[in-house]
């Protein structure tokens, strides 16, 4: 955990708040922005950067989801429920984003040490623990069986998962991304994905194991902490903790040098998304 603490301590943290950009802000843009930030932070053009983001009714699929045998049927189901969908470029399987889910990215330079993946996860876990320390509930990290997009760094309270973390590495920068289910029903989100997998996989045996979702193992922070939290409440907690680990803390946007990087990575994200979803037509 000490190593994670050292990553949270940065001489300068820049915060890019995109948690209130509204319905036209696409998740594809978010992944393009994080790639651009990885490149700029990794090359030393920009300081360590934290970005917050919220997307309206979007299912973010993992790469393996693009191999579901009846994916087209699953995507039609998502559309019928009023969800958009994209394939993300960081790891894992499908997750639900909506107005009650806050995403945070920590973009860190890899200069201190090469590939050290667990340290990125530990850093995010530490940040979330500190954000909610006043509730005195233990936040554990470990796979929650039956959750959607299960992984070793599922964050849970009392066995119920409220967050998942993924990572992406590019150009000596690492983006550690987390979704935090802040409010709304965790089990309803899980039910949606349970039906998606049921429709997309049917009874076909697949080489890759897709999750057997048990909706009740997912919950929002509001449900788990017994208080009504909104995105702004959690943003304040996030900023307060980050500020305490920073010599120089400032709010910012993409710089003039980062904007062309964004457009170039955004084009790649779009192309890749189309290619991944195009695989279903093959």
């Amino acid at each position: 955990m000490n190593e994670a603490l050292s990553l949270l301590h940065q001489e300068e943290w820049r915060v890019i708040d995109q948690s209130a950009l509204g319905v036209h802000f696409s998740a594809l843009q978010s992944f393009g922005i994080d790639d651009a930030l990885c490149a700029s932070v990794g090359s030393g053009l920009a300081p360590a950067t934290a970005r917050s983001w919220v997307h309206h009714r979007t299912i973010v699929l993992g790469i393996q989801d693009s191999k579901l045998p009846y994916l087209e049927d699953g995507l039609k189901f998502l559309e019928s429920k009023g969800y958009q969908y994209i394939v993300r470029n960081s790891g894992g399987l499908a997750v639900v984003l909506d107005e009650g889910v806050l995403n945070l990215s920590l973009i860190l330079p890899e200069k201190e040490k090469g590939i050290d993946i667990n340290r990125g996860y530990e850093t995010m876990w530490l940040l979330v623990k500190e954000m909610f320390a006043d509730f005195q509930k233990e936040i554990e990290a470990g796979e929650i069986y039956g959750s959607y997009c299960p992984g070793s760094y599922d964050l849970s309270i009392g066995g119920k998962k409220f967050a998942g973390i993924s990572q992406r590495r590019l150009r000596s920068g690492a983006a550690v991304q987390i979704y935090l289910c802040v409010n709304g029903s965790g089990s309803e989100r899980a039910q949606l994905l349970k039906e998606f997998y049921s429709i997309s996989k049917k009874q076909i045996q697949t080489k890759f194991q897709y999750p057997n979702i048990i909706p009740d193992v997912m919950a929002s922070l509001s449900e788990l902490l017994g208080v009504s939290l909104n995105i702004q409440d959690v943003m304040l907690r996030f900023l307060k903790v980050l500020k305490q680990y920073s010599g120089n803390f400032n709010a910012g946007q993409l710089t003039g040098e980062e904007i062309p990087l964004f457009y170039s990575y955004y084009d790649r994200v779009i192309e890749r998304n189309e290619k991944m979803l195009g695989l279903i037509a093959d």
Binding site: I63, Q64, G91, Y121, S166, R169, L170, F208
Partner: protein, 127 residues
Amino acid sequence: MNTPKELRYSEEHEWVKVEGNKVRVGITDFAQSELGDIVFVELPEAGDKVTVNEPFGSVESVKTVSELYAPISGKVVEVNEELNDNPEFVNESPYEKAWMIVIEPSDISEVDNLMTAEQYEEMIKED
């Protein structure tokens, strides 16, 4: 850690094997062990151009997604399609079954810029 002496290595943990006027490329034993279980490998198509130090694909493990960077510029002439259905080959056999692409280099002398096995071992020791 297995680092075959006859191969050359990039700072981004790719290995290169010279085969006549072509080179075969994959990721190193060190890289696969750091990444953990590989679940997906995304590769270019035969005929695509790759540029040294620019991404040509990505590899997804249970822990992270990492970009793959071309160790040399040229044209992709062969792609290991087996990795589509068997990404675990990268963990099991990084230097044999899990070769990723074969490149026809635009300038074969770029290979000389890559590290020897000894130099690569030194680099990962420092990491």
